[in-house]
């Protein structure tokens, strides 16, 4: 059971990077971005292609994937701000474009990384004294590193301008900020992170598949919403932490559903149903507790 939890945390954090990205667009910028389903695979595709075809090390590959994701985000941003296409549609259009582009990058629908030195494989070898938690520590360092960088960014002048763009466009325009530029920046950053997550997950899973991005927006939103329900705060540091917590809970729910679903009489094909039920439980239980307590805030009235 312990190893299962370690694996759940590994995946929860790896996907957590994509969840942070969804948080950035959906919560901060208030721009529902569907590009995610495509850019996740773009990151995986580029990473896999580079690892199989070139000798670039698996860590630099993560950065290159990030850059590719940024480009995808910029495309969506330009479609929205320059061509006036609504946010949802702009994201969908880029996502559709990316499907073909990703296939081109990979050259085939599925690219195996089994015989290639991926980041996780290298960490496993090089950090072997740390034993079975070496990969976990690596992923944790990476994810939390990204979280802290994001927190820092959201506290800079540009970060503030980005947050205000999502909060009130009229207000921030009156303060001299070009909201078009902010949206493109936010989308670029977000999709860069999504692609990085895809590149990491591909190396973790051992393959990149054209279909691995399907539903990524849903998983990301689930993490954001679960986290946001459990930890309520308007402070940036807590908000990003809540997103990671949400992602962890989701992955743990999947793991538990797999491991113990059959105990309650569920079949293998009921996996998604059980996962959803566990998520609902995770959301409801804290609510029951909250109703007993009434928190008094220093800020009310």
């Amino acid at each position: 059971m312990a190893t299962l939890l370690v694996h759940a945390v590994e995946q929860g954090l790896a996907f957590g990077i994509a969840a942070l990205a969804v948080f950035l667009t959906y919560r901060v910028l208030k721009f529902p971005d569907l590009t995610v389903d495509g850019s996740f695979v773009t990151g995986a595709a580029i990473a896999s292609l580079l690892l199989v075809r070139t000798g670039i090390d698996p860590f630099s590959v993560l950065l290159i994937a990030f850059a590719a994701g940024c480009v995808a985000g910029v495309i969506t941003g330009l479609l929205n701000t320059r061509l006036g296409i609504t946010n949802l549609l702009a994201g969908v259009l880029t996502m559709i474009m990316l499907y073909s582009i990703n296939l081109r990058i990979m050259g085939r629908p599925n690219l195996s990384l089994l015989r290639v030195d991926t980041a996780t494989r290298l960490i496993d070898q090089v950090w072997s004294p740390l034993g079975s938690v070496s990969v976990l520590i690596f992923i944790a360092l990476l994810t939390f590193g990204i979280k802290f960088l994001l927190d820092l960014f959201l506290r800079t002048e540009v970060g503030f301008a980005l947050r205000a763009t999502g909060d009130s466009e009229t207000m921030i325009t009156a303060q001299g900020v070009d909201t078009k530029r902010m949206k493109v920046l936010g989308l670029a950053l977000s999709n860069g992170l999504v692609a990085l997550s895809g590149a990491l997950v591909a190396q973790y899973s051992g393959f990149a598949d054209i279909g691995m991005g399907i539903g990524m927006i849903v998983t990301g939103l689930a993490a954001v919403i679960i986290g946001g329900t459990l930890i309520r705060s308007s402070r940036v540091g807590w908000m990003t932490l809540s997103v990671l917590v949400g992602s962890l809970i989701y992955r743990i729910a999947v793991t538990l559903a797999l491991r113990y679903g059959h105990v309650v009489g569920f079949q293998a094909s009921d996996l998604k149903l059980i996962t959803a039920i566990l998520v609902v439980l995770a959301l409801v239980l804290p609510r029951i507790r909250e109703q007993r307590q009434r928190k008094v805030s220093a800020c009310s009235g």
Binding site: R155, E157, G159, F160, S168, Q175, V177, D178, C299
Partner: protein
């Protein structure tokens, strides 16, 4: 400071053509505080929107400190032109705190990767908020959405003048407030405008405000300036004299008349 030359605005839709503003000339010197009063549909908001850059004029040019601003984008103009609108909710970012909003307003130009809020800036903000006399300095980290309408508008006034703008536009910014808060905001506005010597355009529905605030007054009706007052002549005008002036131009507007009771 501000010069409008033959500025007009016509809105064209499939159904109709609406002339919101007929060719207007306006010359505002540095330090002038101009109040604009007029009936509904007189073109007051259109005028302010044109100056702020929300949409371009159909004809004419707009100059700020000698520079032609007619083609400049709204957000670029915002770096030099401050604006406060009627809704107390529109001037602040609701989920961000009082301190964060002030930080946003303290930078009008290039924003970089420096930390937006440091210990020193918080201290400055605390002092500035204290001068408002509303106790907001105790609520630096509260999300602005928890503030009352009057408090939010007061904060907006502070934000608009944090970096003194070349021009300040006030678009009926007390109209949505109750009388007590409205007069608080007017006093605040007067204080800031006076202390900083800001060139200001204030649109109002309230005739008393129009007379008491500022050194110039302009009456608008159907997209034109129908009467202008300045200096002593303005200061000595009474509200009923203003009403008569409107009647002379066949302007009958209940809202204007009712306002004088406030």
């Amino acid at each position: 400071m501000l010069r409008l030359n033959g500025v007009s605005k016509t809105f064209v839709t499939d159904a109709e053509r609406v002339v919101a503003l007929q060719a207007i000339d306006l010359d505002l010197a540095k330090g002038d505080v101009l109040t604009i009063i007029g009936s509904n549909g007189a073109g007051k908001s259109t005028l302010l929107n044109l100056i702020a850059g929300t949409f371009p004029p159909t004809t004419g040019t707009i100059e700020l400190s000698g520079e032609d601003m007619t083609a400049v984008a709204e957000h670029k103009r915002s770096r030099r032109i401050g604006r406060i609108v009627q809704s107390p909710l529109a001037g602040t970012a609701p989920t961000m705190s009082v301190a964060e909003n002030l930080a946003l307003a303290s930078k009008k130009g290039r924003r970089g990767l420096r930390m937006a809020l440091g210990k020193r800036t918080r201290k400055t903000f605390t002092d500035q908020l204290a001068s408002l006399g509303l106790g907001l300095e105790q609520r630096l980290d509260c999300p602005v959405s928890l503030l009352s309408g009057g408090e939010r508008q007061a904060l907006t006034v502070l934000m608009a003048t944090l970096v003194p703008p070349e021009l300040l536009l006030l678009d009926e910014h007390t109209a949505a407030l109750d009388p007590r808060n409205a007069s608080m905001i007017v006093d605040l506005t007067r204080a800031f405008v006076g202390n900083l010597g800001l060139t200001t355009l204030m649109v109002t529905h309230n005739m008393e405000q129009a007379i008491c605030v500022g050194n110039r007054l302009v009456m608008m009706h159907k997209g034109e300036f129908i009467h202008q007052l300045a200096g002593d002549e303005k200061a000595e005008t009474t509200v009923s004299e203003l009403v008569d002036l409107f009647a002379e131009h066949d302007v009958v507007d209940d809202e204007l008349l009712l306002e004088r009771v406030a």
